[in-house]
Symmetry: C2
Subunit: 189 residues, 2 copies
């Protein structure tokens, strides 16, 4: 998606350690007009798939997922980071390792809000190692819900998570795909 790629080149910052900082328009301050354009693009890609639920993970995925839900006319569910490892029987749960924060979170969704009849589009701002997507897919699998695919704003292709999921048959569509990043530059696929 050219609009997003241009914005990354204009306002993104490449930091040491494979970090792309897009705090100015995607995950701290958020450009809501860009958000809407990204949601429209996800609808162009997945609009024919009978999606009836958007699933994301707190916190930075919520904004794009909310706008995507609005464009798809369906609800959004966000998986919550659990404060406790003592998971209630009313919840589905999965472990998710955070690339950015270097820790492992247990994420949960209430069983009420993921159903076997659901056709779920997973949405997130970033895809790197794929840990968040694997966790969100595990929640859907526990519920017996169908994962229609994953719609991602920015995929760091060189970290391999997206292609690992594609190899498992998950349809992963990323609006900007970064092939490589060096200390002060990046290249799209």
């Amino acid at each position: 998606m050219e609009l997003l790629e241009k914005r990354i080149l204009a306002d993104g910052k490449v930091l040491p350690g494979g970090i792309l900082k897009v705090d100015g328009f995607l995950n701290h301050q958020i450009d809501t007009g860009l958000l809407y354009e990204m949601a429209l693009e996800l609808h162009r890609l997945f609009g024919g798939e009978g999606v009836n639920k958007i699933l994301t993970i707190e916190a930075s995925g919520i904004a794009i997922a909310a706008m995507t839900g609005y464009v798809f006319s369906c609800p959004l569910v966000f998986a919550k980071k659990s404060k406790t490892s003592n998971i209630s029987s009313s919840l589905y749960s999965a472990e998710v390792e955070s690339f950015t924060h270097g820790n492992v979170n247990t994420v949960v969704v209430s069983r009420e809000y993921l159903r076997p009849t659901d056709r779920v589009l997973i949405v997130d701002d970033f895809l790197a190692t794929g840990a968040a997507l694997v966790g969100l897919k595990a929640l859907c699998d526990q519920a017996g819900a169908t994962v229609v695919g994953a719609g991602i704003a920015i995929e760091k292709v060189f970290q391999g998570g997206g292609d690992a999921l594609r190899a498992q048959g998950v349809r992963v569509e990323s609006l900007a795909k970064i092939a490589e990043m060096s200390d002060d530059s990046l290249r799209f696929c």
Copy 2:
């Protein structure tokens, strides 16, 4: 706002300890159509105030704030819960006590994204003791930004946070105001 009040009566659950559970449509699973109607109502209330930034706090405020930013055609900034008490000089920070979780979080916003020229509408899903609003207002005060007001989905008026802020001159508009809650019922103002 009648639409929201009706939804609370239909799908909200009053739990012991003054908890109103609206997980089914506002802060776990989110009705994105309702989100849009709430954003329109906030625009009706604050649309003439020259708002150029929406400020909220992660995580459950992000969805309504994102939609509000879209309707106001302005960016959203969400304050992040800090993983560390060692705050960088590039951040504004404030302490926020969580009524729901019974702990205190340090919340931060990058100095880049709150400016003295900003006219800020603070948006959140809930207003109870007002701790989150006080913290978000403190961030704006540190930046020298103008707080135009606060737009809230559900205010639990009996917890006093909203009126304390109004007494300080903050314009607080809540789309549903709950006067009292007992074990299995609630009454709106």
